[in-house]
């Protein structure tokens, strides 16, 4: 009966009725902008997590920063206290539970790092599940940065080759840029942690932080 009445209505009334129905459903549908509710493509995530494309090496990141390449958002997942003590230049502090409510856009390149790869992996999964397109993890996190960029060890022989000398000079240059310094390979680990450079030191790094000219949009 209802369907027959509906079918007998003039098209404009039918469209109006459908629109009202969709409007009523919309009231109870919830916030469409919420990133909390999502569907996960488990197969896609499994394939991605199995590949290397989700990892960025520390020397690669150092190179990007030195060259002024900032087409990505570098996210420090540690707490504010640790972030303030030391953070990788150009990074932003965001905890895992703040990621989905932050201003990170789904089409941005996002690079995550934390104290451990566990935190970074959790954040990576969360963002990928929320359909963020390009999310990567800094390999070995802040510890990797410390060991490979800030305080790299010299692995030269007693009589270093030209290649080793060149490599040593490059490592020294990069670590100096970030306020660190080369460690001698002969030094045995003492068990005490090396002090991270204070934030005053990286302040001398003049980063040409530019994400490119913002495109004008709209009419």
């Amino acid at each position: 009966m209802l369907l027959k009445n509906f079918a007998d209505m003039p098209p404009r009334k039918r469209i109006g009725l459908i629109a009202i129905l969709l409007g009523i459903i919309a009231i109870f549908a919830g916030d469409p902008t919420s990133k909390a509710r999502t569907t996960i493509d488990a197969k896609e995530i499994a394939l991605l997590s199995d590949s290397d494309i989700m990892e960025v090496h520390t020397d690669e990141l150092a190179d990007w920063i030195i060259k002024g390449k900032f087409d990505y958002r570098l996210i420090d997942l540690r707490n504010k206290g640790e972030f303030d003590k030391y953070n990788i230049p150009s990074s932003e502090c965001l905890l895992v539970n703040q990621l989905l409510t932050s201003d990170l856009a789904r089409n941005e390149k996002i690079l995550l790092y934390g104290d451990s790869e566990r935190t970074s992996s959790q954040a990576w999964f969360l963002l990928k599940a929320a359909k963020y397109k390009s999310v990567s993890i800094l390999k070995n996190g802040i510890e990797g940065w410390k060991k490979q960029v800030l305080f790299p060890k010299c692995t030269c022989d007693v009589n270093p080759t030209t290649g080793q000398k060149h490599n040593h000079a490059k490592l020294a240059e990069v670590s100096n840029f970030f306020g660190g310094g080369m460690q001698s390979g002969s030094v045995k680990p003492t068990g005490t942690k090396m002090a991270m450079p204070t934030l005053v030191a990286p302040a001398k790094i003049t980063l040409k932080k530019s994400r490119g000219k913002k495109k004008r949009e709209g009419c």
């Binding site: 404009r12 109006g16 629109a19 009202i20 969709l22 409007g23 009523i24 919309a26 009231i27 109870f28 549908a29 919830g30 916030d31 469409p32 902008t33 999502t38 569907t39 856009a105 789904r106 089409n107 359909k131 397109k133 949009e217 709209g218």
Partner: protein, 203 residues
């Protein structure tokens, strides 16, 4: 699928121009077929004699809003990546007033004048030339009105954010508003038609 396609890098700048060209042609075609290429038809909105343009426009807005809501709700569209221009409430209100006056006097808005020019309407060509002249005057005057132009900035704000209510409620209210508008437009057209008939009988 991730929408907007361009923002998610499905095609580059060059391809986006081709896509824009195709969408532009489709948009122009639909506008012309909807009666937006006639200055008389457009100006008739303001005299309640023929509300076709109003009905087409409001239907398009409501349909687009329903589509955006549900595409976003289903996870196909990221609304935060859809461009929304910043709100400057006072200069935009003044600009809207000027546009409205120009609309009634000239019979076109900037977009519809383009459609009418394409169909060879001479009045639209004059309107277009006037528009470019107005842009030139605005550009020359800009240093004097820059402060006003940038005043009352509210940022990227939407109705649900401004009123602090759910997007779904705003959608429902806009649908009701559209239906009320269409009913009111029908009513206005009938009254004006009666008046016209009475006038014709008198003369």
């Amino acid at each position: 699928m991730n929408l907007p396609l361009f923002k998610f890098g499905y095609f580059n700048d060059e391809v986006s121009l081709i896509v824009a060209f195709i969408i532009g042609i489709a948009f122009g075609f639909v506008l012309e077929r909807g009666g937006f290429g006639s200055g008389r038809q457009l100006a008739a909105q303001f005299y309640f004699t023929d509300m076709r343009v109003f009905k087409v426009m409001f239907t398009a807005i409501t349909f687009a809003m329903i589509g955006v809501f549900y595409l976003s709700w289903m996870g196909f569209l990221d609304l935060s990546l859809v461009y929304i221009s910043d709100t400057y409430i006072l200069p935009q209100a003044v600009g809207g007033l000027i546009l409205g006056v120009g609309f009634v006097v000239g019979g076109y808005c900037p977009g519809t004048s383009g459609v009418a020019i394409a169909t060879g309407k001479i009045d639209a060509m004059f309107y277009g030339v006037g528009g470019f002249f107005g842009i030139f005057i605005f550009g020359e005057m800009f240093p004097w009105i820059e402060d006003f132009f940038n005043s009352t900035h509210m940022g990227r704000i939407t109705l649900p954010e401004y009123f602090g209510i759910d997007y779904g409620i705003v959608l429902f209210l806009v649908i009701l508003m559209a239906i009320a508008g269409f009913t009111g437009a029908d009513w206005g057209e009938k009254i004006m038609a009666k008046k016209k008939l009475a006038k014709a009988k008198e003369s």
